[in-house]
Subunit: 191 residues, 2 copies
DNA sequence: CCAAGGGTTGAATGATGGTTCACTTCTTGC
DNA sequence: GCAAGAAGTGAACCATCATTCAACCCTTGG
């Protein structure tokens, strides 16, 4: 019985994610989510007090998944240069794989309460990168710099560079390499 | 008569801008805009077919003003390094002067049709910067690079770096100089 | 087997806010 | 002056959803 309860909760979140990946946040009415989860509209409110709460959690889940994937890819690399390349490639690769979801997570107009989750998402990326940058500065691989400013700026650059391609559906073949070049130079990676 | 007509139109746009600067897009109901412009709700629809059309134009106007200010400041400088510094200082200075407006223009959730205008806004900045970068590459002040990717990434970095401070209301004293350092390195400006 | 408790239902409710429209008021050309 | 037509009015309309709720199952413990 308890299992069924939390299973419903999971089903709701999964359904919301599926709709986000297909139609974006715009398609995520409570009725649509409930329908996709195979339950009635009202049942959603047995698990989440408001729609904003539901989607705050949905965003948190999806963001965590993205950040984890990027962190996992970066952790395999030994130098800051390669770690950051891995971040960019993984991030952009996944975004282009699910463009609608990426757009929803990054830039789609959403309820302000959900928007707050987005800041957390971007902050998580920034902190991940800041860790690598700080290590690079400490080891002398990178010149002295404020890791937090660098990381924040990188996240912005990455997100901005993806918005165009996400709208178009694909990235030009040279976009990602150019971006990596740019970011290496921005970090001060010695050639 | 024609004058009065276009004067009303201007009044509507001015009123919308004022409310955006005060309460953001969230406070911009058609009724509020009409009230502030000193006319009835319905009159707004004599001048704009829909709210989205109105705000597309409002965004266009505000964006143009911002881009112009930045372009004017940059044009006074002779080197790419100084031009880009001027861009950053003007952009961030103006944003911090009217944080609510800046937030609305940059990141606040808005109608998707209006959101499209935002892309144009960012594109305009990117093109402005791309021009300077291309000139710098041509003159040898900057190393070879794709000016468009560089410029897009810079716009993203700049916008992202401002979102935190805009939410907080002020930027830390070292944020702007750090950002300038970062971006100079990103461009490959020789020290 | 049965009653009790709580999960489930989905149509009704309510709030919001963009849009319309029948009517009034002004401007303009004759 | 005086139609004719355009601009202005603002209350009413309507669509969209989030949210609620009273009637319905199911599960479960006795």
């Amino acid at each position: 019985m308890k299992a069924r309860l939390s299973a419903s909760r999971e089903r709701i979140i999964a359904a919301a994610l599926e709709i986000m990946a297909g139609q974006g946040y715009a398609g995520c009415s409570v009725a649509a989510v409930a329908g996709r989860a195979g339950m009635a509209t009202g049942s959603v409110y047995r698990h989440f007090p408001t729609k904003a709460d539901l989607f705050a959690e949905v965003f948190r889940t999806a963001s965590q998944r993205e950040v984890d994937a990027v962190a996992r890819a970066a952790a395999l690399q030994a130098t800051v240069a390669k770690q950051v390349s891995a971040v960019i490639e993984t991030f952009s690769g996944r975004a282009l794989q699910s463009p609608r979801l990426a757009y929803a997570l990054l830039a789609e107009p959403v309820d302000p309460a959900v928007d707050a989750e987005r800041l957390v998402f971007r902050r998580a990326y920034a902190e991940l990168i800041a860790g690598y940058v700080a290590a690079g500065v400490a080891s002398g691989e990178l010149p002295p710099q404020d890791p937090d400013v660098t990381a924040t700026a990188l996240v912005g650059a990455l997100a901005e560079a993806m918005v165009g391609p996400l709208a178009a559906g694909v990235a030009g073949p040279s976009t990602i390499p150019s971006l990596i070049t740019f970011i290496h130079r921005a970090l001060g990676v010695s050639p």
